[in-house]
């Protein structure tokens, strides 16, 4: 196999979480995220001959991701509320510059998820494992959609606080 394709494949495996987070930040539906990500993966490998190894791979991949995300938004969500192009570009730049630290922090997420119990655990599973939005979750758990949304916000806050405390412990 071409050396360049091997290099790009290796780099892609490492950059993929950042690109995935960027796609999620714009596309939001997880099933659609997977579709768009698949398109990006194919586009990246097919454009491997254009990649300059002197440049940041993540930046290059995010550039391709931006194009794919915009195409997706044009085709699928003409009437849906989405970020404007300027914000999409800004978010992409932010992911490129901030990602290594953030990725490291998230290595504690699994441990923090272990601490969720009862209703919090259930809501988190319904939202993320089952890809249900608050309104759909509300029907399953006999809560209002607003209450589910608030609860999800609190769960994320708890997880962030847990991750932060683990980082502090690690550094101590």
């Amino acid at each position: 196999m071409d050396e360049r394709i091997l290099l790009v494949t290796r780099q892609w495996a490492l950059a993929q979480p950042v690109v995935s987070a960027f796609v999620t930040s714009v596309v939001r539906d997880f099933a659609d995220r997977d579709d768009v990500l698949q398109e990006i993966a194919v586009a990246i490998i097919q454009s491997s001959h254009r990649y300059d190894p002197e440049r940041s791979f993540v930046g290059w991949a995010l550039g391709i991701a931006q194009n794919q995300v915009k195409s997706y938004l044009r085709a699928k969500h003409r009437n849906r509320l989405v970020f404007n192009d300027e914000v999409i570009a800004l978010v992409s730049d932010t992911f490129q510059s901030e990602s290594p630290d953030e990725m490291h922090k998230l290595e504690f997420l699994n441990e923090c998820l272990e601490k969720l119990e009862g209703r919090s655990k259930q809501l988190c599973e319904l939202r993320y494992a089952n890809d249900l939005k608050p309104a759909a979750i509300a029907q399953k758990v006999q809560m209002s959609a607003n209450a589910v949304a608030k609860a999800l916000q609190r769960i994320r806050d708890q997880l962030r606080a847990c991750i932060q405390s683990k980082i502090i412990t690690e550094r101590a």
Binding site: A21, F22, Q46, L81, V87, L90, A149
Partner: protein, 351 residues
Amino acid sequence: MSFDPQELIDGYLDDRLSPNELEQLETWIQECPQNAREFASAAMLHDRLRDEQVARSGIARFVVDGCKPNPAEQDSEFESTPKVRIASIWRWNGLRSIATAASVLATAAGLLIILWNGFGDSVAVAGVVELNRLIATSVLSFDQTYQIDVEDVALARRRGGRGRDASQMRPPKPPMDAAILHVRGQSNFVLIRKTVDGADFVTGSNGRSSWAARPDGPVRVSSDLSRFNRDVPGHEFHMPLSNINEGLSQMRVAYDLHVLPIENPDGDVSFGEGASRLLVAVKKKGYPGPRRVEITYSVSSGHIEQLRFIEMPYGPDRLTLRLTLVEERDLGPDFFDHSSHHTSDRTVIEE
């Protein structure tokens, strides 16, 4: 500032913001780099939560075409099962073992081998992979305009129409040859055919209604989206020319797919700009449809350049016709409405 940014971010990620709130969030993100970082951090957590929960739930499936999860294995508490597709198996997780990473790379390499060296037994797999890519690219593309050329018509022996007087006979269909087809997504199309007098006979759909604007008489509009594509080849077997995406999807089931080697304009066999590839689909026994479909597409972008339908049933006849992409651009918000294709003084009848 009267709003809580974290609340806006959470509302955005859960798809619950109003247009005003979205605008507030956009303004806030653009205010300073720290705000943008905060948003990116929340999105990363959100994204990783999905992967962690899918991994934990134990019901993730690597779904490939025709390979559905076994319902008996699904968690009965949950109705929907997350589907993890090809890209998702490339997901790196810092907590996963090196073995997982090696597996990820091996799978990626396997896909590459299929894509680039798709010969022998892997040809059929490569065909499916490539067809999926063409479908995805087609969905994500701008509006497309095709020129239709009829290469050959094999006429069936006519039974003479005995027992039906002239008033009961349908008027002849306008010829497909030299017709122009505009398509957008899954259900928007405009097909412009020329009658023998050279006038435009236009049919179309804007996704909410279908319509026909004949050269004379009233413009007819129907809420039945298939009402006016019944004289367009392919509609009987779910491969209407007016919905290329549906046709491509149908090919996954009813056709054997073969990817031919890359062809470059300059004869070079390397994988470069301008290189085209031919995907050949041969109909399986027992399925209706054209005997063979040939799709020429750009290797680099996955954009379809030409579709060729060989021996496509068209009433009792068989057509061999070619669709050549002539333009790809946004045709504007009203292009697929009937009013864009006739003068405003025409009578419009809602059926």
